[in-house]
């Protein structure tokens, strides 16, 4: 099947198998390896991307379901070499260590903030429940998301 996806602002068109998962489309077909795969049970959130601005686990979506829609991956978040405020906030608050969960975590946070769900610590903790991090213990991620949601990430 033919898909046409507005991928990080550019049109991405490919012939794909109907069973191809979006995450594999992104990584193997489009060559965007920033989106990671951490599990096989849609539990970890490492594969989170934005589909029409809302976060989805790209291991639970077929590439064909993204046809005609807009997908933002971590590669599409920074503009003109400048980190997005949420990315900058993660750096500012040391919200990442090994960085494997980070692309998914940042995109989940961007979506959470856009939905107005990042108002306080409890909301952020609940809102990020679908994204696992084994390194940080979440405290600095939560601080980063609260700050980034206000557009306060110190741009670097």
């Amino acid at each position: 099947m033919q898909v046409s996806i507005a991928l990080n602002g550019a049109t991405s068109e490919h012939e794909v198998e109907p069973r191809l998962l979006l995450v594999h489309y992104l990584r193997d077909v489009a060559g965007l390896t920033g989106t990671n795969v951490g599990c096989d049970t849609s539990s970890c959130g490492a594969c989170t991307v934005l589909l029409d601005g809302m976060s989805v686990k790209s291991c639970t979506v077929l590439a064909v379901q993204a046809d005609g829609r807009a997908v933002t991956t971590i590669e599409g978040l920074a503009t003109n070499g400048e980190l997005h405020p949420m990315q900058a906030a993660f750096r500012e608050h040391h919200g990442l260590q090994c960085g494997f969960c980070t692309p998914g975590m940042v995109l989940a946070a961007v979506s959470l903030a856009a939905e107005g769900g990042a108002g306080d610590e409890a909301a952020v903790r609940e809102g990020l429940e679908g994204n696992l991090c084994r390194c940080t213990g979440y405290q600095n991620i939560v601080a980063a998301v609260l700050d980034g949601a206000n557009g306060n990430g110190v741009r670097s």
Partner: protein, 788 residues
């Protein structure tokens, strides 16, 4: 914040590593683009123990894209040696022969029995599912005491499931005397359940061979490229210099990537055989059985105390679950805790014994803390027991028994020398942070009111030995390698610095911290320092990252190498300024005649002079580049006190973590932001052991919770913010005064939580809760207590 020295160290400099990780530019193994690479998939035993009677690959070979299926028999001649175990803890230790692919018998669920080679990831997986293996089922043995009875043998040929018994008993009669004369004794059994490390990046391997020259490049998500290179050479009979290992971005390890894995060796063997690149990426479900697990101990601990509550002796016996085979350092893990069962207390009489036991389960090995969380848990739980026995408050018994500041360096009863410590201030501060007095009062009020939401406060003071390790001490423990670390520091012609480190970061921020050390030394910007690592062609000397060693050994090597560069630069400066070197001072990145800023020559200019070599002192070699190998004279001994407040709901058994404070002392802090991050993550892994995580096996040796749906890695929603503070007691044994911090959080947190849970329920007559303290388990304990 505590500055070590200079202007950069001691600050929370934001990490250099972050931009590439935040933008998706970082490359993990599975991200590598390798045109033409074949994919491997492992056929794994679904049985815990079985003879392999037949392997039929017909259907697999008919699967589109599948090129080959290789069995253990067919690959047998690829190995010149079995899988390595680098820690034969006793001379008579039993170590079953273990090849990367099982030949006749599978000994745990997940043991590899065949390998599929295919043109794509999916074809390889489809092929693996189509391989038809016939097993003759053998009995499994899961329980440690059952295994020790030898009712069922894991390895028939060994004649026993006992791998070894290792003893540390400097003076057994003294221990016996202490118990005989004790006013109080306690005896307890604690179970350290098996844990799955669950680094978020599953393992990955990619091998690119150069068939003509014979070189191979192995990309692996490993913590130990240097050790792996030696082992790949030995196991496959490849000259070591032909093997290059690269650990690209690595997504967490926690000890689970401190190993030499079958898949790494299989990929190298097949890449050589096929003459082209091959790759493999682990799936999460596979990771649960194919990557090592942690803990797995039964601990029997006894304490003796006098009438004043001074603890006089500790006696410990441990059964340690090895799993089916000995991986790289499996048998040595309990030894890393063996010296620490007296904890932070001056307990004169000491006896420790550990027996390693084979079971038909995934091998165990290092997981965050490796032996030390177990030790800290046992002594800190037992101290609470002793406090209860005597009728002392838990903080009071600790105060009465702490090793006192003036006793350092402290000659421990287990034979170590503790470098430095001052324990009581960390207890005071931790209790202050959780509002200890207030909590006690509220606890009493709730109990008086008959509330069913029981409040508890728990504490634990830990000490650990890290900074692995003095090579001679490792020799005395039968470990086959040393514990040094290497660093090279270069000043390039343009005055920029380059550091080559033998440590292998996978989240710890070495690029940032090593840059800070060098920036301060030379008075330059940390952004002008480049740190190279994790590639044996770039950094040929190193012993990698584990055991909270990177800063205390590797970072110190960086500091020493930078100092050597500076010393040489001083000679060049003195020569060119025609001054006596003793008359020079190094200020703001430049040498000058003391008190004479006008004479200043910046370090960058000296770097260029060293490069051109036009005007150097007679006999001096050109360039500013120095290599140092630092073999630490001792371990370092970080410590701290953690305190937690929990609420246990009597109706449901649910535990809510209301407050958590950690006051840690890792000596001087190079980057307090990174220290705090290490503590946060470490604390959560310990809390997770206390409350949620356990690899659950049934009696047939099947892992029941292999997926992340069933294995409860904590999410942000279950956790509070932690209150952190620190004290600073520098280590006198290294030039930076630093200690390790990567494992400290994990070592302190599990006993803190369980002490708090038991404290909450103590008025019901409950004295222990087995980890993980799940709601079902706690509810059942409460029901039983009420029925008594």
């Amino acid at each position: 914040m505590t500055a070590v020295m200079g202007t950069v160290m001691g600050t929370s400099l934001r990490r250099k590593e972050d931009p590439r990780l935040l933008t998706g530019e970082a490359r993990f193994v599975d991200d590598l683009v390798l045109p033409g690479a074949r994919w491997l998939a492992m056929v794994r035993s679904p049985e815990a123990h079985a003879r392999i009677t037949a392997i039929d690959a017909t259907a697999a070979l008919d699967t589109p894209g599948v090129e080959a299926v290789l069995t253990g028999k067919e690959l047998r001649e690829a190995w010149t040696q079995p899988m390595p175990c680098a820690w034969p803890v006793t001379d008579d230790m039993k170590n079953p022969v273990h090849f990367p692919v099982a030949v006749d018998e599978a000994c745990y669920v997940g043991d590899i029995v065949a390998v599929v080679v295919a043109s794509s990831r999916y074809a390889a997986r489809d092929g693996a599912e189509a391989v038809d293996v016939t097993y003759e089922r053998l009995p499994a043995v899961v329980d440690l005491e059952d295994a020790l009875s030898d009712r069922v043998l894991v390895h028939e040929g060994l004649g026993t499931n006992r791998s070894y018994t290792w003893t540390l008993a400097p003076d057994p009669p003294a221990v016996d005397r202490a118990f005989a004369g004790a006013a109080h004794t306690v005896r307890a059994r604690y179970v350290q359940q098996r844990l799955i490390p669950e680094a978020m990046e599953p393992r990955g391997v990619a091998v690119v061979p150069q068939p003509v020259g014979g070189e191979i490049v192995l990309y692996s998500s490993t913590q130990i490229p240097h050790i792996l290179r030696v082992m790949v050479g030995l196991t496959l009979g490849i000259p070591e210099q032909k093997v290059r290992i690269i650990a690209p971005a690595v997504g967490g390890g926690f000890g689970s990537k401190l190993n030499v894995y079958a898949e790494e060796l299989i990929a190298v063997a097949l890449a050589r055989r096929l003459g082209g690149p091959v790759r493999w990426t682990e799936e999460r479900r596979e990771n649960a059985v194919a990557t090592i697990q942690g803990r797995g101990q039964i601990q029997d601990i006894e304490l003796a105390a006098d009438a004043d509550g001074k603890v006089t002796a500790v006696r410990v016996q441990i059964l340690a679950d090895m799993g089916a085979y000995l991986q790289l350092v499996t048998p040595g893990i309990p030894l890393l805790g063996a010296f620490l069962y007296h904890g932070v207390y001056a307990i004169p009489a000491y006896s420790f014994e550990c027996t390693g036991v084979f079971t038909t389960k995934t091998p165990t090995d290092a997981y965050r803390g490796a032996g030390r969380p177990e030790a800290s848990y046992a002594i800190e739980r037992a101290m609470d027991e002793m406090a209860h026995e005597i009728g002392l408050a838990p903080d009071e018994i600790r105060r009465r028994n702490y090793i006192q500041p003036e006793q350092f360096p402290y000659a421990s009863p287990a034979g170590l020398t503790f470098d430095s410590g001052d324990y009581e201030p960390t207890l005071d501060r931790a209790l202050e942070l959780v509002g200890y007095e207030g909590i006690r009062k509220e606890q009493a009020d709730r109990r008086a009111s008959g509330s069913t939401r029981h409040l508890g406060v728990g504490m634990a003071t830990y000490v650990e030995m890290c900074g692995l390790a003095p090579s001679r001490v490792l020799a005395s423990l039968n470990y086959v390698a040393g514990g040094w670390e290497s660093a090279t520091v270069r000043l390039l012609p343009t005055g920029k610095a380059q550091v080559v480190s033998g440590t292998t970061p996978h989240g710890q921020g070495h690029e940032t911290c090593w840059s800070m050390i060098v920036a301060d030394k030379f008075g330059i910007d940390p952004d002008d320092v480049e740190v190279l690592h994790s590639d044996t062609a770039v950094s040929p000397l190193g012993l990698d990252t584990y055991g909270s060693r990177s800063l205390a050994v590797g970072g110190v090597a960086v500091e020493l190498a930078a100092q050597k560069v500076l010393d040489k630069a001083r000679l060049i400066a003195a020569h060119q300024m025609e001054a006596n070197e003793d008359d020079l001072e190094f200020v703001g990145g430049a040498f000058q005649v003391k008190g004479s800023p006008a004479s200043a020559v910046p370090i960058q200019a000296l770097a260029f002079e060293a490069f051109t070599a036009h005007n150097l002192p007679d006999g001096m070699e050109p360039n500013l580049a120095e290599q140092v190998t630092f073999d630490p004279p001792n371990f370092v001994f970080p410590f701290g006190t953690h305190a937690a407040v929990v609420e246990v709901d009597e109706e449901t058994g649910e535990i809510r973590l209301l407050d958590y404070a950690a006051v840690d002392d890792c000596g001087n802090q190079v980057n307090p932001m990174i220290v705090a991050g290490q503590l946060h993550g470490g604390i959560v892994q310990g809390i997770a052991q206390a409350l949620w995580e356990e690899a659950v096996y049934d009696e047939d040796g099947q892992l029941l919770n292999a997926t992340l749906v069933d294995y409860l890695v904590p999410t942000a929603a279950e956790l509070p913010n932690f209150k952190l503070d620190h004290t600073v007691t520098p280590s006198p044994t290294n030039s930076l005064g630093v200690k390790g911090v990567g494992e400290a959080g994990t070592i302190g947190s599990a006993p803190t939580i369980i002490n708090a849970v038991v404290d909450a329920l103590s008025h019901l007559g409950i004295r222990d809760v087995t980890m993980p303290a799940t709601p079902q388990r706690v509810w059942k304990l409460i029901e039983e207590a009420k029925a008594r």
